[in-house]
């Protein structure tokens, strides 16, 4: 729809480039969406709320965080708090996006931020490092659109096939593998390796911390390590 509305040729080109650049991440999104869709139905959620979670909440992190807690009938506000803590990495992403979206009008800025998830942020950052960042809002939304279609489509498929798919923890691991696959091409350069090492160390230390706070601490540790390992430090 955005593509049809926008006839600016450079923006169209950037939108398509964004969609193409995010393509290698789509199997991961599809596997993750499928797992989430199946999990919602297997845990006894009705069709309406499952669709609401997919299209209105639009956060696999929140959805997969609250599901096990819902199975034990946890209070709604506790569920929201757990989801908020698990979503802290998106606060870091919003800091990443702030420079790129600061001149965009508020509705488009918030709309874009709402649908921007991991693979699209990664595409934006890779382009920026490569010095090939033009029409970045269109680029980001090209990546976002195809990611959202893949995520929602595969979640719907999971919801539809939940009755026939045997989805235990064993098959859910394929979703993990797919997410892991996205990270491998990102490991280029000293700051990236430093960020990876720090993040892995902290996430293993914090594996038992409640509400996925270990994940958030690992993101902060990764960014701090990248800061220490970045070449700017030697000049300073």
């Amino acid at each position: 729809m955005w593509l049809a509305l926008n006839r600016h040729p450079a923006r169209r080109a950037a939108f398509i480039a964004g969609a193409r650049a995010v393509a290698p991440s789509l199997p991961a999104m599809a596997a993750w969406g499928l797992v989430t869709g199946v999990a919602m139905m297997k845990l006894g959620m009705a069709l309406g709320p499952a669709l609401g979670m997919t299209f209105i909440v639009y956060s696999g992190t929140s959805q997969l965080t609250v599901l096990p807690l819902m199975a034990t009938s946890t209070a709604v506000l506790t569920l929201v708090l757990a989801a908020a803590l698990a979503s802290l990495r998106f606060v870091v992403y919003s800091a990443v996006l702030s420079r790129h979206l600061s001149r965009v009008a508020l509705p488009l800025r918030l709309g874009t931020a709402f649908i921007t998830i991991d693979p699209a942020v990664a595409v934006l950052m890779q382009r920026q490092r490569a010095g090939r960042l033009v029409q970045r809002v269109a680029l980001l939304n090209g990546a976002n659109t195809i990611t959202a279609l893949t995520w929602c489509g595969s979640s719907l498929l999971g919801i539809a096939l939940a009755a026939v798919l045997p989805m235990g923890a064993e098959l859910a691991y394929i979703g993990v593998l797919a997410l892991f696959a996205i990270t491998v091409p990102m490991l280029v350069g000293r700051p990236a390796w430093a960020a990876a090492a720090a993040s892995i160390a902290v996430t293993l230390l914090g594996a038992d911390w409640p509400h996925r706070l270990g994940t958030f601490a690992a993101v902060l540790a990764g960014v701090a390590a990248a800061l220490l390992a970045s070449p700017g430090r030697r000049q300073a």
């Binding site: 959620m45 709604v76 800025r109 709402f114 993040s199 990248a226």
Partner: protein, 117 residues
Amino acid sequence: MQYSPLEIWTLIALLAFVTLAARGFFLVLPRRWQPRGRVEQALRYAPLAALLAITVPEIVQQLPATWQRPEPGWALFTDPRLISALLLVAVTRLTRNTLWGLVAGTTAYLGLLQLAV
């Protein structure tokens, strides 16, 4: 799962607000509070750090249990999660293609699961 329709739709509305509040947090702050300079550069590595923080605990999840086994060396060598992840990295690096890495990792994982049964 015991929630009334009102409760579950309230939950969905609040979770949507969490999504928006988290992903839009720095975008509604005044510009001088937004990160700049070297901090902003380092934030470029946040997606990498986040994805590893989510996936690595799952990959090594069974290693403590493996260590307790009578022959930990062999059990480690056939751990489906660890071996498939390592193979995925190797194939992705060699072919420079994420998809081939994923295919190799998934095949190895499903194969080793069969072996383990």
